[in-house]
Symmetry: C2
Subunit: 432 residues, 2 copies
């Protein structure tokens, strides 16, 4: 068990230096890390093999074993990712608002890092490198807690990150590894030292974290994503997109769980859709109307609020676009929802009224991802509405501060009329 | 006692319409409200007089009575504020990111309202109009809870807001008034229907709200603001800015509570500063070194973490800029902190390393305010780092959603190589 207060304090002190470093130095850490990972490849694979052997013995299911594996392919992906991240522009220091308040008094809003971030992630050791590198690039220090099964893999990978930091003149405490659940509980108490927790995992897990900490939490939570097939949908396109949304990868948060079909589209679309889904091994749970058109399992009320993460889909026939929107806002998880239609007016209503981070028109929900969106990578997908929404990349890891530069201005002079507000936009960047 | 579940549900439904309304309609509500307030002026003053009479009877202190008063001056300020707000540009609908993901697949990030916002504010009835109008302009619906002493004033003002909404074709439930503490407790439970709580008040109050709700909270909390007088400070400028920061209005969150002085500046600055502060009736609590230079009350360790909101200031002599920064990051409330220096390098270190929403150079901390910053008005000042920081105006009341517009794109095609990512920036706004 680690001393989390001490670790958090060291992370905070390391942050003050990292936060004011220049882009070149932060990029150098990423490129050095890429080199270290390649040099220590055999060592890393060996530690990962030990994790894999234990996991196999303890009967970890095959898909999870697959995620745990860190071999030559993963290494190549991870180092390519680091190289790519190092070419992205600086997420920091940009002036996003500049105004003269009164003569000689200049206000600037400047992008800066958030601070110390605690991230709890699943059993994918490559996630450690992705998360740590996004944090370093954006000037944040990070406390990392990975899956128990990946402990030895995470230990050596975190050691590589720390060596890269040291080699570039930064404190290794910019990245520190937590090793137990007790460490997580202790971390949640450090609300004076940690600025943000990002828990990746189930909804219940995110809820647990929120209920046990005063530190702000950005939820990478599960997804109940919908595909709504409108009255004006092209049937072939509808089947293609709905099937991809459901079956391309059933175990991820951006997979669809419920398909809504306009009653006028159902006779033409549903039989073909059911056939395609069944051919992919999907069990269909339909409402009464759906069961009247195809053979399927009757859906229960719980189905509308279920995230199956499996080869199961619920299907409901709706009388109108409005009812589809209302169903999604009521039962969805505000992650990603799609309308299939050739009617732009219907698409507009859907996309403006559905209260989700991603609203899609004629495209699979599987596209909700930071890499796909062009952010390089993501630390998570936020389904809340504050700070960041949807896939969170570098920009989601920044905040801003207001810098006000004067020459002795006082409020007394404003109140007496000796000075007046000019409120004139400035066309320049903050000088430092 | 109101049925908060029902009120929240009505606020949510009202939000779906308000959120997709055009700027002109939202501005029309503000201008109509301005007219209604003028028409009903006598009625409003009469209700406010009843509140004032009761408050006087119950012995409310004079400064609070002053804040409670809503007379002809306040009315003129409030209606001028509404007129000014109606001229500000639309905070909604702007595209802030646009990219082609693959051929024919366009991603847009579009600014949109947050949703339903609960705001708890102090006994200033004009705050009700300010808050409600900022929410309406930004497409959010709002549940308002004002001070108990202002209940009758708030009732009639909220009624004016609701009439303006109705007159412009919106649901009056875009703005609803809570009337008791029990209402607030009930509101905190509606985490499925309310998106954000903004509690204006003491730190303890904000903490209480955070600890009793799963709804995200943006804190308008108290301020422990600092003025640091550097080695290279001009003594006259230092005294002027420090005195203004402390005494121009002692009861507000952006007033200074602690003055730090570099040991090399202290002999030249401290006696003059002490004289000026004493002349304004300020009690000085100094550390040992300060007490060696001037006559003052010895400071206790609690003084560094105290928000006096009174004619009291703590003064500490520090050996270096670094120690000043470290003191502020340890004891401050991350609100607004100022350095007085003629050395730009020192200003740069201070402004980049002090972890506060506002970092000032040679200007009074009293400038930390949404109106002063040119935002029109503010719903609060956020001292956290997520979502909004510092004075929160219209922009702080918005979030964004990702709109993805395709023509049948699937992830299966990407995985098979039939389609490839282009990740090409688009130079256009989202079409709807």
């Amino acid at each position: 068990m680690n001393d989390l207060h001490d670790m958090s304090l060291r992370a905070r002190n390391a942050y003050y230096d990292l936060s004011v470093s220049d882009l070149q130095s932060r990029n150098r850490v990423l490129l050095t890390l890429s080199e270290i990972l390649k040099e220590r490849a055999e060592e890393i694979f060996a530690q990962n093999q030990l994790d894999l052997a234990d996991a196999e013995k303890s009967g970890l299911p095959a898909p999870l074993l697959h995620r745990l594996k860190f071999g030559r392919d993963k290494l190549a992906q991870v180092t390519a990712g680091l190289d790519a991240l190092s070419t992205l522009p600086d997420p920091l220091s940009r002036t996003t608002y500049a105004e003269e308040i009164e003569q000689g008094l200049e206000l600037y809003r400047v992008v800066c890092p958030i601070g110390v971030i605690g991230i709890i992630f699943e059993s994918r050791p490559d996630a450690l490198i992705q998360i740590a590198s996004l944090c370093i690039k954006s000037g944040n220090t990070v406390l990392l807690k990975g899956g128990r099964e990946a402990l030895r893999s995470n230990q050596i990978l975190c050691d590589c990150v720390r060596r890269a930091l040291s080699a570039c003149g930064f404190s290794p405490d910019c990245a520190q590894l937590l090793e137990s659940r007790e460490d997580v509980s202790s971390m949640l108490k450090e609300d004076k030292l940690i600025d943000l927790i990002i828990p990746r995992g189930s909804n219940e897990f995110v809820r647990y974290i929120m209920d046990h900490s005063r530190i702000p939490v950005l939820g990478h939570s599960d997804g109940i994503c919908h595909v709504y097939i409108d009255q004006a949908a092209d049937p072939a396109l509808a089947v293609r997109v709905a099937v991809d949304s459901k079956v391309q990868n059933v175990s991820v948060c951006n997979a669809a769980e419920t398909i809504l079909i306009h009653e006028k589209a159902a006779p033409a679309v549903l039989p073909a859709l059911a056939e395609a889904l069944s051919a992919s091994g999907v069990e269909i749970r339909g409402d009464e109307s759906a069961c009247g058109l195809i053979s399927c399992v009757p859906a229960s009320p719980e189905d509308w609020a279920s995230e199956y993460l499996d080869y199961i889909v619920s299907i409901r026939i709706v009388p109108s676009l409005e009812e589809a929107v209302s169903h999604i806002n009521r039962f969805g998880s505000h992650h990603t929802d799609c309308i299939i239609t050739s009617d732009q007016a219907a698409a507009s209503v859907f996309m403006n009224r559905v209260d989700s981070a991603g609203v899609y028109w004629n495209v699979s929900t599987r596209f909700a991802d930071g890499f796909v969106y062009g952010f390089g990578a993501e630390v998570g997908i936020a389904t809340g509405k504050l700070h960041a929404r949807g896939p969170m990349g570098l920009e989601g890891l920044t905040t801003y501060k207001y810098k006000l530069i004067g020459s002795g201005q006082t409020m007394a002079d404003i109140k007496s009329g000796a000075a007046v507000y000019t409120h004139r936009p400035l066309e320049k960047q903050c000088p430092f």
